[in-house]
Amino acid sequence: MEMLLQIIASGLLLGGIYALLSVGLNLIFGVIKIVNLAHGDFLMMGMYATFFLFTLKDINPYVSVLIIFPAFVLVGVLIFRFIIKPLLGKAETEVNTIIATAGLGFVLQNLALMLWKSDFRAIETNLTGKSYEFAGIMLSAGRTWAFVICIAIALILYYILMKTKVGTHIRAVSQDTDAATLMGINVNRIYTLTFAAGIALVGAAGAIITPTFYVYPTVGLYFNTMAFIIVVLGGLGSFTGALIGGLLIGLVESFAGVMASSELAQVFSLLIFLFILFVKPEGIMGKGARV
């Protein structure tokens, strides 16, 4: 029984981290309708930034979010302006944005390889190796904090999207670009904002997971597939869906990892993913209207 609870608890914590990773992707995918294959590589950049802020300037990873978020907003705006925008609104947009972001991923991965070599790096904070005990269950301190922050970020985002004017504009654009334009919404501005926010969110996610994961140039590839699975599983643009998708995949991996092996765990997640794609492509929480 205790074993079972332990598996569930670590599955949920892992799921929370997965959900956090996919929030930015979800936003970009849901509003601009493009697949950002470089998503995981921005995560990697966020992790490196956190690593260096900690080792060189002694800035706590959770505090470094305050530096990384605005910096990545800037990066997102520039990338949208010079790479994504020229590709939008054409017949080949779908294919070409995928290829262009894949190219961007190459650039980021190899930039990291050139600058920081392929070594695995990790930081040691006051949370490293610590865990909290709760009713006989051990919870990794780093992951618990990541989970709490993830929920907080999801709530803030939910509030912005549902209750503020900008959020209403974003939802309008995501539902019908033409109608939104006719209502006087500057679609280009909303796209820029969404893309920048998506990149900044994944950068922040990188900062939050750095205390519990190794950093290396291709770390993004591992998380990339996971993030896509969760976004589709939960339903495009649905935040509650992404949260549920993340927790579900976390649980599946945790259980399959204990009972079989880590490779089979991934195979299980992928099979669930394919199944959902075939029978309910709008995702578990998707109901026609999105966000």
Binding site: L87, E94, N96, I98, A100, G103, V107, E263, L277, P281
Partner: protein, 333 residues
């Protein structure tokens, strides 16, 4: 493009590439040529489904892996010549493709959803190859038992014969593409408007599945060639995301949905990456792929339809200029 014109171009290209065989080239140049033709072949196979029908697959490495693992496994365990193992692998790849293609097209998976499904399939194959250690050697992969040059066993000591083999593969694939004229038009119609195509009496699913199966078969054959040429396969190189992506890049940069686009793309991208790798790779690891990535992004932004669309763009520009000149002279009169 008219069929006869395409066949003529193919004949000229083949003669030219055959002539290259007799040139006294350094080993590195031969290696680049073989790799280039290898990617041109894979790209031509990929293009059949993904280019003409507009379903972007980023998981075709799965089929290359099925081909390579099957032929090497059969050779190792049963001493079956890879020439036959290649067909077994191709058949298995078609089976795997049917397993995915049928539900994908049946449930109308399109756009990014199809791409994500294809990535998932390749990841599944990749993970299963690592998991099935007893048969596949797990992460360590399989190496091909050495046999001195033997045509019957598809193993050669020099590079020359591999060059001829891949040239023949490429020739057959492009020839097949040219001959599938009717299917190509059907697929293009499906890509542009599926409902309209169906209304005109084109069997959408049948054509898509046929193209998908041929595409999987060709890529699996490419996988066997890879195994025989490099004599070693592992899940990261043959079932990894980078092989899938490279296949797609060659086609998209060259011109997707055109007969010679994949070949053009391969002849531009592969020598470039290999030369960059040779000259920069050892001093600055990563620099060559960094430059490669930048080139890709720039190419996609300025030539969204690939290099094969260049003549059309230039012609259109000249026409426009001519028209402006005409109008100008009319104005004077």
């Amino acid at each position: 493009m008219k069929q006869n014109k395409s066949l003529l171009i193919l004949a000229i290209l083949t003669v030219a590439l055959l002539a290259v065989y007799f040139l006294p080239l350094v080993i590195f140049a031969k290696h680049i040529l073989i790799l280039t033709l290898f990617y041109a072949f894979l790209g031509t196979g990929w293009n059949l489904m993904c280019g003409y029908a507009g379903r972007l697959s980023l998981g075709h490495a799965a089929f290359a892996a099925v081909g390579a693992y099957t032929s090497i496994f059969l050779f190792k365990e049963f001493n079956l010549t890879p020439w036959l193992g290649m067909f077994v692998g191709g058949g298995l790849a078609v089976l795997v493709m049917l397993l995915i293609a049928y539900p994908s097209f049946r449930f109308g998976l399109k756009g990014p959803y199809f791409t994500l499904a294809s990535i998932a399939v390749a990841e599944i194959v990749h993970n299963l190859l690592i998991y099935g250690r007893d048969f596949t050697g797990g992460s360590l992969g399989l190496s091909l038992p050495y046999v001195p040059t033997s045509l019957a066993m598809f193993q050669f000591d020099g590079k020359e014969l591999y060059y001829l083999v891949i040239l023949a593969f490429w020739l057959l694939a492009v020839f097949l593409t040219i001959k599938m004229e009717r299917t190509r038009y059907y697929l293009e119609a499906i890509r542009e408007d599926e409902d309209a195509a169906a209304a005109l009496g084109i069997s959408v699913n049948k054509n898509l599945i046929a193209a998908a199966c041929i595409s999987a078969f060709l890529v699996a054959v490419g996988g066997t060639f890879y195994g025989q040429y490099f004599r070693y396969i592992d899940p990261y190189s043959i079932a990894g995301f980078s092989l899938s992506l490279n296949m797609a890049l060659v086609v998209v940069i060259g011109g997707s949905g055109t007969i010679f686009g994949p070949t053009i793309g391969a002849f531009v991208l592969i020598p470039l990456t290999e030369i960059l790798r040779m000259s920069l790779g050892s001093q600055y690891p990563g620099l060559h792929l960094f430059l490669y990535g930048i080139l890709l992004v720039v190419c996609i932004i300025y030539l969204p339809k690939g290099i094969a669309s260049l003549p059309g763009i230039i012609r259109a520009r000249n026409d426009k200029k001519a028209r402006q000149l005409d109008q100008g002279s009319e104005g004077v009169l």
